[in-house]
Amino acid sequence: MSESRPVASDALMRVVGLDKSYGGLKAVDSVTFDVHRGEVLALVGDNGAGKSTLVKAIAGAQPPDAGHVEMEGVPVRLHTPRDAEAAGIGCLHQGLGLVDTLDVPENVFLGRELRSRFLGVVPQLDHARMRQRTIELLDRFGIHLPRLNDPVIRLSGGQRQTVAISRLLLQEVRLVIMDEPMASLGVEEGRRVLDLVRNMRERGISVIVISHNLEHVFQLADRIAVMKNGRLLDVVETAATTREAVVRMITFGEAA
């Protein structure tokens, strides 16, 4: 992916001077960067580099000590996951946040149920419409799940990811944060998730991916942000760098 983009005007999200300390340790140290509309930005760095703390702040899971986040130029308050959701930021946690015992449409629509009226009066769940919309959501991404009415615990890791992502798409998110999405998946499943991410990008959804797997990062990302010791070293165009250069940055902290 080597389209060159104008840097500032295309920014969906701008993170400005974000700080977060635990005790005396600066986990995130005045980090500033942009996320462009419809780009995949990979966040890489060693364990403890501050990646997770950074995305937790953006996802509203852990408010930062200082700094702020703007969406399309407007500062947004991100103190709870609800705030993030309202701002169009969705987060795919490693646990995915699914209820194992519920089926696919029930998981996709939990908390945002579609209802009809039984006998024209009493509100009840509209299983048929939720199922239909789930199929449409999945279909848009070319995904087919064989048994929608089974509890999601019977689905594979990749299929569960799809269900979780469908939840986010239903919320009309503009930015999706994925924390190690391919970590526990097989090769084939991992490839499907890669396709899914590309598909989101084509629809203008921006994606921040945390990953240790540089092969995936180079296949997927438009730009790569490298963190070390809480600081953002650099954000580089994937097409303008090499794996060796990125590894050097991660390990020795040398800006390219």
């Binding site: 908390g111 509100p123 299983h127 048929a128």
Partner: protein, 342 residues
């Protein structure tokens, strides 16, 4: 690709949804019930009469009703040991008010209000004070039984007006009213469980409390409502029970909770929360009533019946654990019963 959008017309999808829940979950149990009925009939022909079958259905009616409520509680990853005591307190108070001249309709209303309020209080203890459900409802079980005894120690109440006893003794086209009420109530319960937002939220909380909370489910409020509902339903079961036997006393409903919980477990509802079936619960309650009836007909002593009932519960839990692949005896009962809410 047998599930393209065009192929799944909404109505067909809805029926498919119903089918799976109703057919598969109850099939094995239905077969067991029929097989047992045949065996009992072969052993003792008196079991096989129409009168006896109607008798079994009538006896099971209040267990069916209360077990439907317990299905919500257990699916919500909770437990309610206090149902027998709620039933006792609500019925002794309601009975006395009506006997003292209160309008029967109003008396019944007081019973429901009292049951609902007690349930609210239990729910408050569990979801806001964060007392683990096993302990909270154990405390309520003892305290409410105490209150019932304080209210009418040793007194036997009897002599309800016929407008009340009709709920337990009346018939409509030959079918006992309690059976009709239990049947309609089970249908309502299944609808509430599978087809309402409340039911979905109950199942979600039992399946993964944290995920439900993140998805925006009002976890504490729903949990409080589940116990309130349980109290209301217990009042309904109590009403039918005292209407049928036209009497009540402070010790009524003793060890009822074990009977009701057993019905739910046998029905296939997961003790660990998240998965439940109203249809299975109804079958479970029927199965237990049938076994009790067979023991009575066979002349087995009441004390031995208790032993058998306890054994059935333990076997049912053991089978349920195997079914869920939890083979360790240490995992016999769910931790969620003994943990405070977060």
């Amino acid at each position: 690709m047998n599930e393209s959008p065009g192929a799944a017309a909404p109505s067909v999808a809805a029926i498919g949804h119903l089918d799976r829940r109703w057919l598969f979950e109850g099939l094995g149990l239905t077969i067991v019930i029929i097989a047992l009925a045949v065996i009992f009939s072969l052993i003792n022909p008196r079991f096989a009469s129409v009168v006896n079958f109607i008798n079994i259905l009538t006896q099971s009616s209040y267990y069916v009703i209360i077990a439907v409520g317990m299905t919500f509680v257990i699916t919500n990853a909770g437990i309610d040991l206090s149902v027998g005591s709620i039933l006792a307190l609500v019925t002794v108070i309601g009975f006395e008010l009506i006997k003292e001249g209160m309008h029967p309709g109003l008396g019944v209303l007081v019973m429901f209000a009292l049951g609902g309020l007690i349930g609210c209080f239990t729910g408050f203890l569990v979801s806001y004070v964060r007392i683990p459900p096993f302990i909270a409802t154990l405390g309520m079980m003892v305290a409410l039984r105490g209150l019932a005894l304080v209210h009418s120690a040793g007194n036997m109440h009897y002599g309800l007006p016929s407008s009340v006893t009709w709920f337990g003794q009346g018939t409509i086209v030959g079918i006992p009213v309690p059976v009709i009420i239990a049947f309609l109530f089970a249908l309502f319960g299944a609808w509430l469980f599978n087809h309402t937002r409340f039911g979905l939220h109950v199942r979600a909380i039992g399946g993964n409390r944290e995920a439900a909370r993140l998805a925006g489910v009002p976890v504490n409020r729903i949990e409080l409502m589940v116990y309130a509902l349980m109290g209301l339903i217990t009042a309904l079961g109590g009403l039918i029970m005292i209407a049928r036997i036209d009497s009540t006393q402070a010790t009524i409903g003793t060890s009822m909770e074990i009977h009701v919980i057993a019905a739910v477990i046998i029905g296939g509802t997961s003790l660990f929360g998240g998965r439940g079936t109203i249809y299975g619960t109804v079958l479970g309650a029927l199965l237990l009533s049938m076994m009790t009836n067979a023991l009575v007909i066979a002349g087995v002593d009441y004390f031995w019946q208790l032993v058998v009932m306890g054994a059935i519960v333990l076997i049912a839990v053991a089978i349920a654990n195997l079914r869920e692949r939890r083979v360790s005896a240490l995992a016999f009962f769910p931790r969620s019963w003994f943990e405070g809410r977060t």
